[in-house]
């Protein structure tokens, strides 16, 4: 892939795209709500943006986006470094299922909450390490290496729960998904996502790590010759992605107070890749935009909330999602960029 002036300009503005997408979705929703204002009473004009206070807690579609979008933001934080280093992690959905299964099973078996949570995150980190070894040490193509865990991982999760859906009652684990601190009216998942974003951004942009990541993604061999420890950095991205997926899995399990090894985290790998790519991180590697990835995660949830608001079933919902994802990939492809540049500056 050749560098071009267009890449530099889009690099700085890329975080705008998810915002534009969300604005479009909100406008669509408001328009639909207004058109249906004469109909059933629930759909007044501006129903999508309406925020009410239920039991002292704000509620409404926009609050839902922030609350449930937190999972996508967390996954995107893990996926962005992986993709920036020219990899991809298809196993995040399965790692979510494994982490939820570990936490639920240990909690049911009478372990302390802190031990269950630590074990779930530890196992998720091990899953990430497994991917890291396959990619970094054995040198497999990232999508093949993580595909193994994507399919086999669901089997692992089923083994952990003995092919059952394990329900649990554990105040501390439920707090991760459903809780709200007393001093702030914000849900815990959102606070976790914000903290994770701030932490990741700080480490990546305030140390040389971000530069090294993009160098490795831009040209692994050249960075290695220049003295960058490419393999170690690539391995680190997979472990971090595993931990993020583990955290997301805990939230998903806590949300339903159960670990579902069959459906937990399904389709999440595509959602995470979408969030990262729409936020301006290149699938070809070497270019990362963390803020864009976080906003992309919110855009993903905005898309899903819109589908629910428009009565599109959860089984059919991946169809428009996949089409939007393809559209974003196409818009970011070299040919589409070339075409756009030719339109902007007619020769």
């Amino acid at each position: 892939m050749t560098a071009s002036p267009a890449r530099l300009t889009t690099h700085t503005n890329a975080a705008l795209w998810p915002v534009v997408g969300m604005a479009l979705l909100v406008i669509t929703n408001v328009l639909f709500d207004t058109l249906r204002a004469g109909g059933p009473g629930l759909f007044g004009a501006g129903a999508f943006l309406h925020v009410s206070v239920r039991d002292g807690v704000p509620a409404g579609a926009t609050i839902d986006v922030l609350n449930y979008g937190a999972t996508f933001v967390i996954l995107a934080m893990g996926m962005a470094p992986v993709i920036a280093a020219r990899g991809v992690d298809l196993s995040v959905g399965s790692i979510m299922a494994i982490s939820g299964a570990v936490a639920a099973t240990m909690s049911v078996n009478g372990h302390a909450s802190a031990v269950s949570i630590a074990a779930a995150l530890g196992v998720a980190a091990l899953c990430g390490l497994w991917n890291a070894i396959l990619v970094s040490v054995l040198g497999l193509q990232p999508f093949v290496a993580t595909l193994v865990l994507m399919v086999a991982g669901r089997g692992v999760a089923q083994m952990i729960t003995q092919s059952h859906i394990v329900t649990f009652h554990d105040a501390a684990i439920e707090y991760i998904g459903l809780g709200r601190p007393t001093w702030l009216p914000l849900p815990v998942p959102l606070l976790l996502a914000i903290t994770l974003f701030a932490g990741t951004a700080l480490v990546i942009r305030r140390t040389a790590l971000g530069l090294l990541l993009e160098a490795v993604g831009g040209n692994p061999e050249a960075s290695r010759l220049a003295g960058v420890r490419s393999r170690l950095i690539i391995a680190g991205t997979y472990v971090f992605s595993g931990v993020c997926a583990g955290l997301a899995g805990l939230i998903a399990a806590a949300n339903i107070k159960a670990a579902d090894p069959f459906h937990a985290g399904q389709n999440q790998e595509l959602a995470a890749i979408f969030a990262v790519v729409v936020g301006g991180t290149s699938l070809a590697g070497g270019r990362m935009n963390l803020l864009g990835a976080a906003l992309g995660g919110l855009l993903m949830q905005c898309l899903i909330t819109t589908m629910y608001a428009r009565n599109i079933g959860s089984d059919v919902a991946p169809l428009p999602q996949a089409l939007v994802i393809l559209g974003v990939c196409i818009a970011g492809s070299p040919r589409a960029r070339q075409w756009l540049r030719a339109r902007r500056m007619p020769a």
Partner: protein, 332 residues
């Protein structure tokens, strides 16, 4: 990437040895395991994996990947069941399914080539989109009840004597594999696929129509997946939008275990048949054992896939070293 001639056949020979070893192991451990009827049952039960595997072999040979296999099979099953329930004749419904899936495969191939997108990304999006499209056709499983299906089940089979009967689906599998072998070995299209998989830029410079070939490869994969879906529908006698989830890994695993390099350019269609049989025997062993968690199936497939990928990397790196000894690599 150079692979010396002797080690080129090593993965397939290994696969054959593993198949024999598994059969001997099962035969010694369980009664009635290593019977001819059992092997023919395998050919029937995993015929849809094998048929889809033929298309996937071409995709992998060309250096690409197709993750949409499972969704295509489910889509064919659901569309078939829906059309038959609406009063169509199964044959015309089958034709519609084949054309639709071939077109979807070609469309994915076009996206990959025209916009230079990664194949796994496009086919992953395709996998989700086509799965969702299944639910758009029918939200629930639909049974198929048509005299034609009963007729094919009764009349189209090959009696080999001794209680061994080859049902139509295994005949279809053998026919597809035979056609695949012929296309891969003795047509210009097959040679182009090997050339692109071996080294795309060299192939382009030699005048191989890269874009057209890639699109045709993905169209072929769609066609094979759809054919597999038809066999699957005949086997299950119903169309279920949640069926064949995760089948793409089984298909890719059988391609890889059969000796086709994931980096493209090396491999064979007949090897994929071996790979399918190995997967089938492993599942049969798990079934015979009885008290093993069913989750072991997907785990064992994943591990076996991993072992064979590592074996491939070893062979390729040995091959590269060997070719460097003959012709020392020039320093730039």
């Amino acid at each position: 990437m150079r692979v010396p001639f002797s080690s080129r056949h090593l993965p397939m020979l290994t696969a054959g040895a593993i198949l024999v070893a598994l059969l001997v192991f099962g035969g010694l451990r369980y009664d009635h395991f290593a019977s001819l009827a059992n092997v023919f049952n395998l050919l029937g039960d995993y015929s849809y994996v094998g048929i889809a595997g033929v298309g996937a072999t071409f995709v992998v040979l060309s250096g690409g990947i197709d993750l949409s296999v499972g969704s295509m099979i489910a889509f064919t099953a659901v569309l078939m069941a829906d059309l038959v329930a609406r009063g169509w004749h199964p044959l015309s419904a089958a034709l519609v399914c084949l054309v639709a899936c071939t077109f979807m495969g070609a469309a994915m191939g076009w996206l990959i080539c025209f916009f230079a997108l990664p194949a796994f990304m496009v086919t992953l999006a395709g996998m989700f989109a086509i799965r969702a499209a299944c639910f758009l056709v029918r939200e629930q499983s639909v049974g198929i009840d048509h005299p034609f299906f009963a007729w094919t089940a009764r009349h189209l089979e090959l009696d080999l004597g001794g209680g061994a009967v080859l049902p139509m689906r295994s005949l279809l599998l053998l026919a597809t594999v035979a056609a695949g072998v012929v296309v891969a070995r003795s047509t210009g299209f097959g040679r182009n696929v090997y050339a692109i998989g071996g080294h795309e830029r060299s192939a382009r410079m030699m005048g191989v129509p890269v874009v057209a070939t890639r699109i045709r490869v993905h169209a072929l994969a769609g066609l094979c997946s759809s054919l597999a879906g038809l066999v699957f529908t005949m086997y299950k006698q119903s169309g279920d939008p949640t069926s064949a989830v995760g089948l793409e890994l089984s298909v890719i695993a059988s391609v890889v275990i059969g000796g086709t390099l994931l980096s493209g350019g090396v491999g064979s269609v007949q090897g994929t048949l071996l790979g399918v049989l190995i997967l089938g025997v492993i599942r049969l062993l798990i079934d015979f054992q009885g008290n093993v968690n069913a989750a072991w199936t997907s785990i064992s497939i994943g591990l076996l896939l991993l072992v064979f990928i590592c074996l491939q990397r070893l062979i390729v790196s040995i091959g590269n070293r060997a070719s460097q000894q003959v012709l020392p690599a020039r320093k730039p």
